[in-house]
């Protein structure tokens, strides 16, 4: 489903260059559950952003279902993000002015889903992450774990084929972390491809495959 070939991501900081990713190769099958581990600053988020079409590689090829994604026009990348990719950010990125329900409805609003259906699907997604009773709370009225789950509900509500989660349990205690992983793995069992970045060996251990990064590259070679 996904194929990265010789991916580089280079940031220019002042006069020097930072290689957040250096020559990365990766293949991911449809329906796979993959965990990405590695020390802070090793390039995990950068990798996930490129996979999620939120960022473009400086060099290299990214095939999504056989299509070269880096060369796609802006609108088609938007379309891909809208229908194929669900992203759970490391720092949630919820709109503070909207309720949990409103935040989950947001991707559907721009996809042109009619209002009633939007309501219904958002409610169902919130129920799936166990937040049906918090639907009308704003983010600042929710705990960190609850916000994380709202972000997950928003990521899955469009029923994407690829689910990317950047440290979804980073801010959670053990039991909340377990709940969140349950939700994500449930989606994975439903056929969605799941890629999780994590520092937690327990979380990583639940994945079928684990890759480790260090200094912008995979440690055990291409996997």
């Amino acid at each position: 489903m996904l194929e990265l070939t010789g991916i580089w991501r280079t940031y220019v900081v002042g006069d020097s260059e930072v290689n957040a990713l250096r020559d990365v190769f990766l293949e991911v099958e449809r329906g796979e559950h993959l965990a990405v581990m590695g020390p802070s600053g090793s390039g995990k988020s950068t990798l996930l952003h490129i996979l999620g079409c939120l960022d473009r590689p400086t060099a290299g090829r990214y095939l999504f279902d056989g299509r070269e994604v880096g060369a796609l026009p802006d609108d088609e990348r938007s379309h891909l993000r809208q229908h194929e990719i669900g992203f759970v950010f490391q720092f949630f990125h919820l709109l503070s002015r909207l309720t949990a329900q409103g935040n989950v409805e947001l991707p559907m609003l721009f996809a042109g889903v009619p209002r009633d259906e939007r309501r219904r699907r958002a409610a169902r997604a919130l129920e799936a992450v166990g937040l049906a009773d918090r639907a009308h709370h704003r983010p600042d009225q929710l705990s960190g774990g609850q916000r994380q789950r709202v972000a997950i509900a928003r990521a899955v509500v469009m029923e994407p084929s690829l689910l990317l989660a950047d440290e979804p349990t980073g801010n959670l205690d053990r039991s909340s972390a377990l709940e969140v992983m349950e939700v994500l793995e449930e989606m994975n069992r439903g056929g969605q491809t799941l890629i999780v970045v994590t520092h937690d060996p327990d979380v990583a251990g639940r994945a079928r495959r684990v890759v480790r990064m260090s200094d912008g590259a995979f440690v055990e070679g291409a996997v």
Partner: protein
């Protein structure tokens, strides 16, 4: 995404950031209010001047003693001859096309009614004056006509003067004193406002010879000449000058007409109009820059939101639509509030100076609204457009 949903989203954003919305609307409103209030005052000043000089009547000649048109001294080094009541009578009898003349003597003196006194402009004139200047009497009558009455002791009060001197009491038939002289109030004028430099509501009329005697004047202040028609005004002016040259054996009076006054003041009017345009453009620019700053700040602040919307799959067009809607709603709202505040300021000003015709010109209102919406839309969308060009992560993390 339907237009209705777009507007809903924009309003949600405005409601969600209440403080920023209030500040933005206030910023826009201050600029627009300034445009409205300042141009209203400027336009008021222009109208005031025009009004003052068109209230004369276009068929009127005004004769003033002394020659103001020549630069040097009087001919033969002499002083100006007195302008007299007899001159006025001669003009009425001997110049063709004259309907009537009214001699005017002027002084400022305290008028005493019982224990109340008030300093008033006192005009000594004849019954003809009320026709020449179209003065309306609200109660009683104007000065009596006829030669015999030119030395009488009648007095007509302006509406405000009557109120100040007599309060609610009826002044008709009452006695007032000017210095040691006693007058009987025979009439009160209807309100008229200012004209030719006099406040017609706050003055008194007395018979002309009486005025010249008690104020010790040998020359009239003015002679007003009403012509049958506006045509031949220049000829009449020449005739009057000729007649007075013959009577005074010198060219020692000045005659002005409304046309002459207006053309003399056309330079002032042009300056006033230019000042008005300058005021409007300065305040429009200030308003425009204010709106621009507000929009630039509020949109730049929300780069992260643009990044998020894009990350969730919103097209660039949709994001721009949302921000354009928001910007237009914001600046229109500010424009409306500004118009309201500006109108209120003008209303207050007119409340304090009722005779000042302050109204904001229509072009200033429409221009200020157009500028607020245009500038608001432009600077609401331009930074948003820059943000949509970025990859979602770059916009989102603000790096």
């Amino acid at each position: 995404m339907s237009p209705l949903e777009l507007i809903g989203f924009a309003f949600g954003a405005l409601r969600g950031h209440r403080l920023r919305t209030v500040l933005s609307v206030a910023g826009v409103a201050v600029g627009i209010a300034a445009v409205v209030a300042l141009t209203a005052l400027g336009e008021g000043a222009r109208r005031y001047v025009v009004q003052e000089f068109t209230s004369l009547g276009s068929n009127l000649l005004i004769i003033m003693p002394g020659k103001v048109e020549t630069t040097g001294a009087m001919p033969f080094g002499g002083v100006a001859h007195d302008l007299t009541i007899e001159d006025a009578q001669a003009i009425a009898q001997r110049v063709g096309g004259v309907v009537r003349t009214a001699p005017v003597a002027a002084a400022t003196e305290t008028v005493q009614a019982g224990d109340r006194g008030r300093s008033l402009a006192i005009l000594g004139t004849t019954a003809e004056y009320s026709q020449v200047r179209q003065v309306t009497v609200a109660a009683g009558r104007f000065l009596p006509s006829g030669e015999a009455h030119q030395s009488g002791a009648e007095l007509v009060l302006g509406s405000k003067a009557a109120r100040e001197l007599f309060g609610a009491a009826n002044p008709l038939g009452k006695t007032v004193r000017v210095g040691p002289y006693r007058f009987r109030v025979v009439g009160v004028l209807a309100p008229k406002g200012r004209s030719l430099g006099f406040d017609f509501d706050d003055l008194a009329f007395v018979p002309v010879r009486t005025a010249m005697r008690i104020f010790d004047r040998s020359s009239l202040f003015r002679v007003l000449v009403e012509m049958r028609s506006t045509d031949g005004l220049d000829q009449a002016k020449e005739d009057v000058l000729g007649l007075l040259r013959e009577r005074h054996r010198a060219d020692d009076v000045t005659i002005v007409t409304q046309g002459a006054v207006l053309s003399a003041f056309s330079a002032i009017l042009a300056v006033l109009t230019a000042a008005l345009v300058a005021i409007a453009s300065v305040s429009l620019t200030v308003a425009g820059i204010g709106i621009m700053n507000v929009m630039l700040i509020s949109v730049t602040e929300r780069r992260a939101e643009i990044g998020l919307l894009k990350a969730l799959g919103a097209r660039n067009r949709q994001v721009l639509g949302a921000f354009l809607t928001e910007a237009v709603v914001l600046s229109s709202l500010g424009g409306l509030v500004g118009l309201g505040v500006g109108a209120l300021v003008v209303r207050l000003f007119v409340g304090i100076y009722p005779t000042f015709p302050a109204t904001p010109p229509v072009w200033a209102i429409s221009l200020s609204i157009a500028v607020s919406v245009l500038v608001g839309g432009l600077f609401g969308v331009w930074p948003a457009r820059r943000a949509t060009r970025l990859d979602p992560v770059t916009a989102l993390t603000g790096r």
